[in-house]
Amino acid sequence: MLQSFRLDHRGVREVLQGPEVRRAVDDVADTIAAHVRPQVPAGTRVSVHGYTTDRGAASVTIEDVRGMAWQARDGILTRAAGAVGLEVRAWQR
């Protein structure tokens, strides 16, 4: 029977900002980028940038002014995210 539960906020933060989460997030972002690259014209750069907020995070960017149009028309980013089991939502605290 549960007698007491105390969430270790400092420990959770340490894990979320730690190297294991960093690696896991980077791997997923790399996989998403790999799904996007065949969908854009040859020579178009698709880059991955890791960063840290209260946890490890990463962005996938199509480095082309037409990127937004490709997302609007073909959903290349949302589909690539969905292919690795992610759901795309606006960031909300």
């Binding site: 997302q71 609007a72 073909d74 949302t78 969905g82 759901e87 939502r89």
Partner: protein, 138 residues
């Protein structure tokens, strides 16, 4: 033995919701709008082009098959940036308040975000929503 269930076409259902709801709207930017599920073959702004495209991007059925979580992407072409945005905002709201036999409920995903059609140069606005889809006994 497991119960055989299927999910109806969320993309077609989303388009039907918007087609029906937009037909009853009086806003000037919402009149004469065509709703479809494919990229339009012509996108010439001079033809007073007003088009809403609904596409399913992802589909995640729950292992129990009691629900499927779908990402619907809605892209709105219009004559100018402001009307494209206003039409997209209206479509987003119309989807979010919808609850029906196929689409159980809808929550916001991303956007609306402005963009320019790289083929025609026409203004557009795009957003995504997350829809929960009801199963149907087959």
């Amino acid at each position: 033995m497991k119960t055989l269930t299927v999910f109806d076409d969320a993309q077609a259902a989303g388009a039907t919701v918007l087609r029906t709801a937009l037909a009853g709207r009086l806003e000037p930017f919402a009149t004469g709008v065509t709703v479809g599920t494919k990229v339009p073959t012509t996108r010439v702004p001079e033809e007073v082009f007003r088009y809403v495209m609904v596409r399913k991007d992802t589909d995640a059925p729950h292992p129990s098959m009691a629900n499927s979580r779908v990402t619907l992407r809605v892209t709105c072409w219009h004559e100018d940036d402001d009307q494209a945005h206003d039409l997209a905002m209206l479509c987003q709201g119309l989807l979010i308040v919808h609850s029906g036999t196929i689409i159980r409920g809808v929550r916001p995903g991303t956007g609306p975000l402005a963009a320019v059609d790289d083929v025609s140069g026409a203004p557009l606005s795009t957003f995504t929503v997350l829809a929960n889809i009801r199963p149907r006994l087959a």
